[in-house]
Chain length 257, copies 2
DNA sequence: CGGGCTATTGAGGATTATCAACTGGTGTGG
DNA sequence: CCACACCAGTTGATAATCCTCAATAGCCCG
């Protein structure tokens, strides 16, 4: 269905064979994270010691030793999705994480949330590199360095605001608005590929897209087909490329007073 | 439509004339908040000095001096809703806050979220008492007391998890599930009234209920009427009383694997 | 007592989910 | 290396949920 570019090449573009997590790369990645910018040297050293790095292939889940009292995860490269299963065959993607973003996982006493139903599942959308550490070891560091707590809080406030935005839009607006908003958001999430600037740099099936904005797979497919005919996007098995943002922005715009 | 109890009395029950925020009450309220439990004496003294108390009547908005660089709010008593306007006449209630919960408001550098569309509006659902302080003054206190940062973070994680739960359910499930889930959640939010244990202790119009779970006012009304005929709830202008939780729990249950 | 707001109820229509059949690409196993 | 199974995606027909519009009743306040 797609014209110029071979689909296989897109798949390879999105999923490099390995994630080179050499100690040096890992160190520099750590220091470049928004979360730790301006942190003092002791903090960085502590974190380098505590954080375990790990690379995930496409579709892999982030799991952790069950004895742990919860996990702090930092996404260095790639993309993750946070899924919630609602029935045995139906899930919703509640969030997509880009590089630099963090997540909590597990049943720490601090995260003692009354989880009804299923717990969240964190799964990679593409070849990714994550750093993880035991949550219990975070608190002492947090009090030692005055930069970290405000940083963490502000990340959470941003996440909460973003989720609220989606919540409102996806609850009220029709399918076209939802998908348009979603595509534009996703395009902003990851680092764009040099040779395909409009390509959303994750592996995304129609089912994923539908699960992100509460639509049936078929509805999402229909809408995307329509847009593809109009020349606004291109898409294939597991990838979507945005060619024209203007019409999508118009579809997902909120009226201004 | 409601049977035994006069509706006027419910309204008075939900909206006591005044919120008695004497210095003594305010002090004890402060020390009893989950957020500050176990905090050291200096912290409590600082906070008592910094926090301004304020009482809100039904439907009032929380506003703040525009010169401020953002606001931390703590809800001591009553209930607040966080609204987001999507069009000039349509809003969504993204969250309902109960006693002890916190909110951020304004344009602090920490809250510099790319807000497209309208900003959030915090509005009281009932006669409420809130404490507010300048966000900029929070950070130094945060680093001085090792208890606060984990506490704040855990509150945010809980809020995020709760919002994700709603997100998933309201995106996927039909109206009856949504409303059932909502009513049960709301019942848990506030302190129950002694003489009406099932009464949701907020002022809630049909429009609010609908805006909380992404339905049209009429749909919400229809579903509630049906439940009222079945004897599961009672309702009137601005209040809902849950009489039987079992059927609602069944409607909003997630299948377990 | 009248105006405005909240809630109820009905009819009609549009969006979207569901079910089903089909295509083509991918990867696996013989 | 080929055949096969499987998965992602497409498309159509049908049905159901839910929204919109509209008219009306009851409560609250001035």
């Amino acid at each position: 269905m797609a014209g110029g570019v071979c689909e296989g090449s897109y798949h390879n573009l999105l999923n490099p064979r390995t994630c080179r997590c050499s100690p040096a790369i890992r160190q520099s990645a750590l220091r470049n994270l928004d979360l730790f910018r301006g942190a003092n040297a002791t903090t960085c050293a502590d974190l380098e010691f505590l954080l375990r790095s790990r690379s995930l292939t496409e579709g892999e889940e982030v799991s952790f030793p069950t004895g742990d009292d919860g996990l702090l995860g930092i996404l260095v490269g790639g993309a993750l999705k946070i899924q919630r299963w609602l029935t045995w065959d139906q899930y919703v993607v509640v969030e997509v994480l880009g590089p630099g973003e963090i997540f909590f996982l597990g049943h720490s006493p601090v995260i003692q949330v009354g989880l009804r139903g299923y717990p969240d599942v964190v799964q990679s959308l593409t070849t990714s590199c994550v750093l993880t550490m035991n949550l219990g070891e975070l608190w002492p560091i947090l009090t030692r360095d005055p930069v970290l707590a405000p940083r963490l809080l502000s990340m959470f406030v941003r996440r909460l605001t973003e989720l609220r935005d989606h919540f409102g839009r996806f609850l009220v607006f029709p399918a076209e608005h939802r998908l348009a908003h979603l595509l534009l958001e996703l395009r902003r999430k990851g680092r764009p590929k040099a040779d395909a600037p409009g390509l959303i740099p994750f592996n995304l099936t129609r089912k994923d897209l539908a699960a992100m904005c509460g639509l049936a797979l078929e509805t999402a497919s229909r809408v995307l087909s329509r847009w593809e005919k109009a020349g606004w996007i291109r898409s294939g098995r597991g990838w979507v490329e945005v060619l024209q943002t203007a019409p999508l922005e118009k579809l997902s715009a909120l009226e201004v007073v």
